[in-house]
């Protein structure tokens, strides 16, 4: 029972469903499958929260995940989902355009990929369409024949792309490619981020000339890509190309020998592309994005049980039907088009929870009782700095004013938080702030001009109205206050559990390293952070210690005395 939803106000069936009024315990609880609305199995109970609460809640991790998966796994590319507030769910993934695919890869790779995407990359989002050999042959033939070359899509370098494992690995590491891309290691573990595609066998996929052009500037091939435009020089592009091309699986395409495609194959491939709805997700020149390709799911959570066809042995209940459809769509009828996804049981439960919340009751709910989701932000920074931030794909990882990813810190108040000199140095050469993380800010090889332009914009625009960054000095704190702060740091608040100030003695590495924090952050920010960290960054795991003004000032003095670290400071010494 939830403490915030009292039984005498909400009753039972609002959350647990079931038929309502009964005079015996058994009558109320022993759900029978003949009920039009049986009791909701406990593992899907969060779906009821979603009927009224249209946005994420801290108490509904499963519903939140399910709603994210609906947007991220491609569901809403094919299925229309209208919400009670009149909006339509928009996918957040960005499947690549196939209009210039021949620049990027070979027909052999496309053929093998279509047959089994997860055999190429276990983390691939692309589902398995269970195509026959002939279908895969013809679709690959059509995609290659339909592809048009794009100017600048391939590059021939003066520097040769020689595989130099040591130099390549260190450039791959320094550039923090692993922040976004995963690679399967020898033990079979997938290590790295999931923002970009897995690169375990990328050498089997891409053409060398395309990869070189892509590394030089990915925005040429795909203007909307989430990949940053690193300012690599030609030698770096060559080194990285050689390193990535060496990531191959020699068995991968060994048995794929395709004969030249016939016009009939190409024509048949085009029909198959339309039949399977490929253009629902991918842009394909000459193929229109199909509308209403799959059944609308806006009210799937109220689908009457009489309209469902169950699999043998399946419990005759809507949640089981939905979960079964997600788990093995084609099991329901061999002619169905929905492909096979590779979702974990937990992901299937989450998706089912989110789909069950899309029901009639959520539409008929008086609008005054609904708790609206926070409006979607499409914030874009202005002017030249805005263009630069788009080019660097800052929003793939950082969130600003509600827009962007959540892998890296929210930068909405960055201008109040950091010192300008530090920021310029960091943008040019990001140092390690959180030693335990494998996902870090990459070095983009920015020019002085670019780093300064970005820093100026951040310092001026991203300011918290409640913090005057000049209200407290950056240095000159009394020794007594610094000493008191030190005692509080190591004694009363035991900050060394998570942070490092003295690299010889402290070991905590959950929070950022504070060795040179006095040259990095502003005093006004540290002070406010001590008072209420969640007010500055909602959701941060730094605990709010309800610190007195005196303690917060002393800790600020101590932390501001931790100077050094930047190249500028080093030059001054």
């Amino acid at each position: 029972m939830l403490p915030w939803h009292k039984l005498d106000q909400f009753g039972c069936t609002i959350c647990h469903r079931g038929q309502g009024a009964a005079t015996t315990v058994a009558e109320a609880h022993n759900s029978t499958l003949t009920w039009e609305q049986p009791i909701l199995p406990a593992k899907y109970v969060e779906s009821s929260c979603g009927e009224c609460h249209r946005g994420p809640l801290p108490g509904t991790p499963q519903l939140n995940q399910g709603r994210n998966l609906l947007l991220r796994e491609g569901c809403v590319h094919c299925h229309l989902v209208k919400l009670p507030d009149g909006s339509t769910l928009k996918p957040t993934d960005d499947p690549p355009s196939l209009s210039h695919i021949a620049d990027k890869t070979t027909r052999e790779w496309i053929y093998a990929w279509l047959k089994d995407p997860q055999a190429y990359a276990t983390t691939a989002t692309m589902p398995n369409f269970k195509l026959t050999d002939d279908e895969a042959l013809d679709i690959s033939a059509f995609l290659i024949a339909n592809s048009t070359p794009l100017v600048g899509d391939t590059a021939v370098l003066k520097a040769k792309a020689l595989p130099d494992p040591a130099a390549g690995a260190s450039l791959y590491g320094e550039s923090f490619c692993a922040s976004c891309h995963a690679v399967q290691n020898a033990a079979g573990n997938i290590v790295g981020g999931d923002i970009g595609p897995e690169l375990t066998r990328v050498g089997n996929k891409v053409r060398p000339e395309w990869l070189q052009a892509w590394l030089a500037n990915p925005r040429n091939y795909d203007p909307g890509t989430g990949m940053s435009h690193y300012r690599f020089n030609e030698a770096q592009v060559a080194t990285l190309t050689g390193f990535l091309l060496a990531k191959t699986d020699s068995d991968r395409l060994a048995n794929v020998h395709l004969e030249a495609a016939t016009p009939e194959q190409i024509a048949h491939g085009k029909r198959l592309v339309a039949d399977y709805g490929c253009a629902s997700c991918h842009e394909i020149a000459g193929i229109k994005k199909p509308e209403n390709f799959a059944p609308e799911l806006s009210r799937i959570g109220s689908k009457p049980i009489t309209q469902l066809i169950f699999l043998p042995g399946m419990q005759h209940a809507l949640p089981d039907y939905i979960a079964g459809k997600i788990k093995q769509p084609r099991a329901f009828s061999p002619g169905l088009k929905m492909p096979q996804y590779s979702l974990t049981p937990a992901q299937i439960d989450s998706l089912t929870t989110a789909l069950l919340s899309l029901n009639e009751r959520s539409f008929t709910l008086p609008p005054s009782l609904a708790v609206a989701a926070a409006p979607q932000s499409d914030y874009q920074p202005a002017g030249r700095p805005g263009k630069l931030m788009a080019d660097l794909a800052c929003f793939s990882c950082h969130r600003i004013n509600g827009h962007g990813g959540d892998m890296a810190p929210d930068l909405t108040w960055e201008g109040s938080s950091v010192q300008r000199e530090w920021l310029v140095q960091f943008l040019k050469n990001p140092g390690t702030l959180r030693p335990a993380l494998i996902r870090r800010m990459p070095r983009f090889n920015l020019t002085d001009g670019e780093a300064n332009e970005l820093a100026d914009y951040i310092m001026i625009v991203y300011q918290n109205p409640a913090i005057d960054r000049d209200s407290m000095p950056l240095s000159g704190y009394a020794q007594g206050e610094i000493e008191l702060g030190k005692q509080l740091f190591y004694g009363k608040y035991a900050c060394q559990g998570c942070h490092i100030v003295d690299i010889r003695a402290d070991k905590g590495y959950i929070g950022p390293t504070l060795t040179h924090v006095g040259s990095r952050l502003t005093a006004a920010w540290i002070y406010q952070w001590m008072r209420d960290p969640q007010a500055l960054r909602p959701g941060t795991i730094e605990p709010n210690r309800a610190m007195s003004d005196e303690d917060a000032r002393a800790l600020t003095a101590f932390l501001m005395s931790q100077k050094g670290g930047t190249a500028l400071e080093a030059a001054k010494k």
């Binding site: 499958l33 108490g59 004694g491 009363k492 060394q496 559990g497 998570c498 590495y509």
Partner: protein, 248 residues
Amino acid sequence: MTRSTYGVLALVTAILASSLATSCSRKGPPAPLPKPTAFGAAIIESSGGKQGAQTGAQLPQPLVVQVNDAQGAAVTGALVEFAAAPGVSFDPPNGLTDSSGQLATNVSLGGTAGRYKIIASTLDKASRKIELNVEEIALSYQQSLGRHLNDVYCDRCHNAESTVERVSNYDNLEVKPHPFTDGETLNKMSDADLTAIVSYGGSALGKSALMPAWGNTLSKADVEALISYIRAISDPPSPSAGPVFGKN
């Protein structure tokens, strides 16, 4: 059962299956057990015991058991059957061990929170049943919320195990935190004491200040959820961990 009864049963099943689209069908008769090609002397847990999942949900990892002979060598082709209280399901519910002597099954727990005893059994040469008991934990809604909070706020220090993606902070701490499965210690502490430590920090009960106060960050309901989760997973079980569901 006679041959003709089998025939009738098969006919009925076929009719049921063909009329699926228009009528309700109940689960058919259980599939016959596979015929073992070998017999073991012992059955042991390889992995997948003591996991937690929300009531009715599938455990994140499969339960893997291994059949060994008297010398401790893996036995291929031994029959393993899984059984538990009603409401628990196994996919597959039985099977023969593979070339490394193992059989894996996906376990979905029952609809009531508590601990579920699972029995994995195999037959020895004399057709006697050898049994292995494994316990899995079904978490209530509140306990699942507690687990989610644990993953965000507590696990990095209280769980000594590192993963490739996430390095544990346990070894860095001068005073080691108690893993939440440490029933020996935590079962002796009252809910009120645990609430005080989580809300006001270790210093509140004369323990290490390295445990910070979370009372201004987590709500009262959050702290209750966390403690309910700690109670659910403690080993040995906490007296307030809830019922144990066995086969009968």
